[in-house]
């Protein structure tokens, strides 16, 4: 959070997460090489370099597919939230794996001549108009540049110093990179006679991601259109949920007509309402939990006091709060947002509200 900068923010959970991802990478590469050696033996044997290129390349592609799936999966079902928690480190590790693939491939195929290996990649063949001969390496190279900028700007410093809109827009380029990588693999596999397995796997992943994103989008829109969509009607109380429908230490998310969402939390015999939008990267606070008395964002763990929308000291983030009351077992919210960090007395369950 915005209290001095550290190189990397680690805690026990993040360490476990990172170790699990790193373990996954090692296990995958080991298995890939083992299985390939067993399959392609005799006259078909592949050199170690080619095996490594394929192992790192496919590992990177799978990692990117997982990374892009985590967001929508977590929106569809909260059991995926733990994956979201440290997605950023996952992203950086993915970049390192992709870079290893590129370095090995560049030196293996282009590193032994007098030409600069990069020039060699871009000019090795110039059959840009023939699909079967298309220089797929250039596609991978452009994707790598995009991914480099993204990995290099993932620290919070960049989020704070590039406007959030710019940062977000920049990071949307990951989809462009993904498209380039799909082509890179498909066209590359087309030129290596071995098997079409890669092509199919890559196409299947692209279809999976598209369906997942469309599905999540459709669900979000319909969630907002059905049920209790409330209009802002100028400072009037609005019924948002039966008290019993909100689980303890969790929230009910209430969509407003104008697209805003309010998170109504029940905790400790009290009810408080805050904006659903985390001050860090707009994470969905209402999908988080109360941990140690604080609303905890499911994305990267930023925390806020439920009764004033302020991050506990020394942190300084603030989110808008809303007035709440309880009447006849129902929770009511005043839909006019109060300025970020405004203290609001929580509604006491069973009290005279």
């Amino acid at each position: 959070m915005s209290h001095g900068y550290q190189a990397v923010l680690w805690n026990k959970h993040k360490r476990t997460y990172d170790l699990a991802v790193a373990g996954g990478i090692v296990a995958y590469i080991g298995t890939f090489i083992g299985v390939s050696m067993a399959t392609w033996s005799g006259p078909n044997i592949l050199s170690t370099e080619i095996l490594l290129i394929q192992a790192f390349g496919s590992c990177a592609f799978i990692m990117l597919t997982i990374i892009l799936s985590i967001g929508p999966l977590a929106r569809l079902n909260s059991i995926f939230n733990p994956l979201l928690y440290n997605r950023r480190h996952f992203g950086v590790m993915f970049f390192i794996v992709a870079l290893a693939h590129v370095i090995i491939a560049t030196f293996w195929y282009h590193g032994f001549g007098i030409v600069n290996p990069l020039v060699s990649i871009l000019s090795m063949n110039s059959e840009y108009d023939r699909i079967a001969q298309f220089p797929f390496e250039s596609l991978g190279f452009v994707a790598l540049l995009i991914l480099f900028v993204m990995a290099a700007t993932s620290h919070d410093f960049w989020l704070a110093n590039l406007k959030p809109g710019v940062w977000k827009a920049m990071h949307m380029f990951v989809y462009v990179a993904y498209g380039l990588l799909v082509l890179h693999v498909v066209l590359g596999a087309l030129q290596a006679e071995r098997s079409s397995l890669y092509t199919w796997l890559v196409i299947a992943s692209a279809v999976w991601l598209t369906v997942l994103h469309v599905l999540t989008g459709a669900r979000e829109t319909s969630k907002d259109h059905h049920g209790a969509v409330a209009a802002r009607d100028g400072g009037h109380w609005m019924a948002v949920a039966a008290l019993d429908d909100i689980p303890n230490d969790r929230a009910r998310i209430v969509p407003m007509k104008d697209g805003e969402r309010i998170a109504v939390f029940k905790y400790d015999g009290k009810v408080s309402a805050v904006s659903n939008v985390c001050a860090h990267q707009n994470g969905p606070l209402g999908e988080g939990k109360i941990v140690d008395g604080c609303i905890t964002c499911p994305w990267h763990g930023y925390q806020y006091n439920p009764d004033n929308g302020q991050s506990p000291p020394p942190f300084t983030e603030k989110i808008p709060t809303y007035k709440v009351k309880i009447e006849g077992g129902h929770v009511f919210v005043d839909p006019t947002p109060l300025p970020p960090g405004t203290p609001v007395a929580p509604a006491i369950i069973g009290g005279n509200a």
């Binding site: 915005s2 209290h3 001095g4 900068y5 550290q6 190189a7 990397v8 600069n116 990069l118 020039v119 871009l122 000019s123 480099f148 900028v149 990995a151 290099a152 700007t153 620290h155 410093f157 960049w158 704070a160 110093n161 590039l162």
Partner: protein
């Protein structure tokens, strides 16, 4: 003859070269001016924002000149 590929690679090289020199100056002197929260930040942090500064150096140069984020 200079091929198109050589041209691109040289341009990229030039951009990155200037970027590296700028980035070293930026993380040492500029970063605290641009973002007060970075005042006295550890070297690990400065190292970690170095590659991003190389990539986005024109932008950070503008911020440095302009005095940066109002805290």
């Amino acid at each position: 003859m200079v091929s198109f590929a050589e041209l691109i690679v040289s341009a990229l090289g030039l951009y990155a070269g200037i970027g590296i020199i700028f980035a070293l100056l930026f993380v040492t002197f500029g970063v605290a001016r641009v973002d007060p929260a970075a005042k006295g930040a550890p070297w690990g942090f400065r190292l970690i924002i170095l590659p991003g500064t190389v990539a986005l150096w024109p932008l950070m140069l503008m911020k440095w000149i302009g005095g940066g984020r109002r805290a």
